[in-house]
């Protein structure tokens, strides 16, 4: 009860708060639907209760705010429903339509107690938020920015944003590292949260780190998988999507879900949907490079072989042609030579025959002339012979006379006859002495006369006067 002091009626604080509580309880007897933005969820894991901050904004400016309570059981029920419909847990920063009662607690003051939240409204709000993100990115002209980057011929070096222990990451690595073609990828993990309220911040942090070492990488892969459909709304976040769109390297996503594509996936260079499809996509890029190389190798080998074979064939044909031509020429030449030989032979025979005829006529002439000459000469010789015989007989007769004269003279000259006429021959040692010089006094000499020899000794010699 209030105290009276002088003329003043004085209430205790509890009396005031109790009065307010009573007034409000009688004034607000039933629950009602409210549309507001949940600024903060203020979930206390220990108790399981939430104390969401509710606000209403006009052009980003808060024009009303009120605390609220969401008791553990209500929160669990509402969150389950929310996840089922919205594919995301109850989160901060979304507009929601909820059913509440005004409560006033003397200790905690005025609050709205949330009894029910309409997930369909939030779904619409999330969708609207997503559409807004898309519209803003389009207006800024950056929606297609990442898609228009040149994609590396071989996306060998990957910065992977994922959760180390997630199934999606494990699947991705298994395919990338265990590919049966022996393609070698380099990948480096930049660990990040990929769902829930802190995902945006965490991914942005890692994108920022990758940007600093972007020269080491060809692509960025965001790999999630295994987390179901829940908690993907962070990928509709404008700021995150903007960063992906503007990222200097192509960003490829394998976030792993079946329905509605998120804005981040839309603006990424490529959305492969699941981690394994993302791995397939990258391996396919290697195939795209490898296959033409393989084909080039086959084409080259085939063409080169054919070119060589063609040339060889060409050469062989030419050789055959050359041989046939030369053979023909040879045969023709042979033939011609033989023909020439025959002609020559015939001609020579003819000439020979002609020569022979000429020759025999000459022989005949020569013989005739010789014979006639012989006959003339023979007659001449006969006459000469007759003349010689006649001359010879006269000559012989004359000579015979001379001979008998000569014989008479010669007989007169015989030494016997000479000696008889008184001449003698004096000799010394068998040799006739012709000079006084041949003999010395007391030399024995012999003197031959007609009827014998006189032996004498030289007394003196005397030279004939005038000799």
């Amino acid at each position: 009860m209030p105290e009276m002091l002088d003329d003043k009626k004085i209430f205790s604080l509890l009396e005031v708060t109790t009065s307010i509580q009573k007034t409000l309880a009688t004034r607000y007897t039933s629950s009602f639907w409210v549309k507001a933005e949940m600024n903060k969820l203020n979930y206390y894991p220990h108790s399981g209760h939430c104390y969401p901050d509710l606000v209403e904004k006009v052009e980003g400016k808060v024009i009303a705010q009120l605390k609220s309570t969401l008791w553990k059981d209500d929160y669990n029920r509402i969150n389950q429903h929310f996840i089922k419909v919205v594919k995301a847990p109850l989160k901060e920063g979304i507009k929601m339509l909820f059913c509440a009662r005004i409560t006033f607690d003397p200790m905690h003051g005025l609050a709205l107690r949330i009894i029910e939240i309409d997930p369909v409204f939030s779904l619409g709000e999330l969708e609207r938020e997503k559409q807004e993100s898309i519209a803003r990115l389009r207006n800024e002209g950056i929606y297609d920015r990442n898609k228009s980057l040149p994609f590396p011929l071989l996306p060998k070096r990957m910065a992977v944003i994922s959760v180390q222990t997630s199934k999606g990451y494990a699947d991705f690595l298994k395919m990338i590292d265990g590919n049966p073609w022996g393609y070698k990828f380099f990948h480096m993990l930049f660990p990040s949260l990929l769902q829930g309220d802190h995902a945006v911040e965490s991914i942005r942090y890692q994108l920022d780190r990758i940007r600093k070492v972007a020269s080491h990488f060809d692509v960025v892969a965001i790999v999630r998988g295994g987390g179901g459909e829940v908690g993907l709304s962070c990928f509709n976040n404008y700021v995150l999507s903007r960063e992906i769109a503007l990222f200097p390297l192509p960003v490829i996503t394998g976030i792993g879900h079946a329905t509605n594509e998120t804005v981040a996936e839309m603006v990424a260079y490529r959305n492969a949907i699941t981690p394994t499809e993302l791995a397939d996509y990258l391996i396919q890029k290697f195939h795209n490079f490898s296959a033409p190389v393989q084909k080039a190798e086959e084409t080259l080998v085939g063409r080169a072989k054919r070119l060589v074979a063609d040339e060889r064939h060409h050469l062989q044909t030419s050789v055959r042609y050359f041989r046939s031509v030369t053979d023909n020429v040879l045969i023709r030449s042979h033939h011609e030579i033989r023909q020439h030989a025959r002609d020559l032979f015939k001609q020579s025979n003819l000439n020979l025959l002609r020569q022979k005829q000429t020759h025999s006529s000459i022989v005949y002439k020569v013989r005739t002339m010789a014979l006639s000459l012989c006959s003339i000469r023979r007659q001449e010789l006969g006459q000469i012979f007759l003349m010689i015989r006649k001359d010879l007989a006269a000559y012989m007769k004359q000579e015979s006379g001379r001979m008998s004269n000569m014989t008479k003279s010669i007989a007169n000259m015989h030494p016997e006859n000479v000696l008889k006429r008184g001449y003698s021959i004096t000799r010394i040692d068998g040799k006739a002495i012709t000079s006084i010089d041949k003999v010395m006094p007391s030399d024995k000499i012999e003197t031959i006369v007609a009827d014998g020899v006189i032996m004498s000794e030289v007394l003196t010699t005397k030279k004939s006067p005038g000799s």
Binding site: L153, K184, E297, R303
Partner: protein, 71 residues
């Protein structure tokens, strides 16, 4: 002629040689030289597919240096 082409260049040059030979622009005289070059390019391409030169430690070092510069 680039003696150490990257894979894009090697790939492009290889395609060039293939199209030349396909269109019959290569004579037997050039053939040996072209085939030799193509074999080298194919080897380069295949090596690029099955090897990598990147190193995590080097990237981390670069990352550390840029992050400490930022602080």
């Amino acid at each position: 002629m680039n003696d150490n082409p990257n894979y894009a260049e090697a790939f492009e040059e290889l395609q060039q040689i293939v199209s030349e030979i396909e269109e019959g622009h290569i004579s037997v005289d050039e053939l040996a030289e072209k085939v030799k070059r193509a074999a080298l390019l194919i080897r380069i391409c295949k090596t690029k597919l099955t090897s990598t030169e990147e190193d995590v430690n080097r990237i981390l070092k670069d990352l550390d240096s840029t992050e400490s510069e930022g602080n």
